[in-house]
Symmetry: C2
Subunit: 258 residues, 2 copies
């Protein structure tokens, strides 16, 4: 048994997606939704961790930072970001934690055969997902990354994270641009649901640009619609979500790897 | 979401049987195994009860008595027996508890069209299952019940329970017998697994006797083998287990009924 812990919980898709991935691999396991109210997290989470037939948890909003206190070992990205979304019981009974949100984005690029190493990335939005994407992309050693977020402290923090993960990558902080960029990543909420705006001011995009949008709903964001119209290679939020599933299952099945 | 709480947990069959019953009724619900170590019950159980997306729990060995402390309202059988195997969140947020073990036995008899009212029952073994069976059978108002257990205090206690549930039933305590009986119930462990013994000393059984054995493994106990050989009507432990499933689901779906 495995669980996903969050508040609210009704929106999560991990129970069916991760359970499906277990079954695809011939493993008799199940991931179930565990709704832990915000005010109860510090008492309920340790109780859930004492269920011997639960091998680990996906941790989602709003617990990714608070869950850090329950991990005895942290993966590099969880260490630098100060948050986790995977908590697994290791063979010695201790708990390992890591954040795989960004790995899903990297996997989506890999699955499409789009290289990251040596390329130039513009990342717009450095919240929970954006920070994780920036760090995971950095681990693939791009030549250059430009970061943009409305919060300048967050920009500086993620810049320092990237410096630890990939010292050779040139990182600057600045306004969103596509000039001199190979890959444009939107991890901001601009374009989500009914929001018709673009996350940066452009009329057109060069056709050799790769455009990724972390937004899952709608599948076709205003940015992706423009990118498709301009002949760009388009990578969707859903591909990132799907890309993370095997990584989470790998983490559950090899908990000592963290 | 619903759970079954026990220690150990690997042997439980409720997750598939109750989940199947939910789906048979067109209800999108799941019952999952929650292994709560004996030493952790008093801290882990209240934490599980704070998960808003869990509507209730089946409680199994060894927690049926300890779980009583967590129920705000108790059904009559749970009150008299001092134990429960169903714990449900009521619409006002309080918790109701009841013990349905014996209801499964009654349902098995009903499903086979075997009347209990006005009949004479011999019950051998008054442990957790036997006590619940005795009380549930008493609620169907048999004419007479004889009770046998190695523990005389348990006999006296169950006799007093029956007196509260069905004052008109004549109850005595004595050695196992089939003389003057219509229904023989074995709820003792005699005959379980490799045990080749009978729960009472007999060479043969009258063909008009109804013989029930609460043992699930093996399906064909020595007692049931003899009963079948003698042409008796035979009711099996598996029928009791199956008979309880709809009652548990009814309890989950109508929690205010307790």
């Amino acid at each position: 048994m495995f669980g996903i812990v969050g508040d609210p919980i009704a929106q999560v898709r991990s129970p069916e997606m991760i359970t499906w991935e277990f079954h695809r691999r011939g493993i008799d396991a199940l991931l179930v939704p565990l709704h832990v109210p915000v005010a109860e997290f510090d008492t309920v989470m340790p109780a859930l961790m004492r269920l011997p037939n639960f091998g680990g948890f996906v941790v989602t909003i709003p617990f990714k930072t608070r869950a850090l206190a329950f991990a005895n070992h942290l993966g590099l990205q969880a260490q630098v970001l100060g948050s986790l979304n995977l908590l697994v019981r290791r063979s010695d009974g201790s708990w390992g934690g890591d954040i795989l949100d960004g790995m899903g984005c990297v996997a989506a690029f890999q699955n499409r055969g789009i290289p990251i190493e040596g390329r130039r990335l513009m990342i717009v939005g450095l919240g929970g997902a954006g920070g994780a994407i920036a760090c995971a992309m950095a681990a693939r050693q791009p030549a250059r990354m430009r970061l943009h977020d409305l919060n300048p402290q967050r920009c500086a923090f993620i810049q320092s994270c990237i410096a630890r993960i990939s010292p050779a990558t040139v990182v600057d902080i600045g306004p969103p641009t596509i000039e001199g960029m190979d890959i444009l990543i939107n991890a901001s909420p601009v374009g989500m649901l009914e929001d018709a705006r673009l996350p940066l001011e452009v009329q057109t995009l060069p056709s050799d640009l790769v455009v990724f949008d972390a937004i899952v709903m709608p599948e076709q964001t205003p940015l992706l619609a423009l990118a498709e119209h301009c002949g760009c290679t388009v990578v969707r939020g859903r591909e990132m979500m799907l890309g993370q599933i095997p990584k989470l299952v790998d983490g559950f099945l090899s908990p000592d790897g963290i």
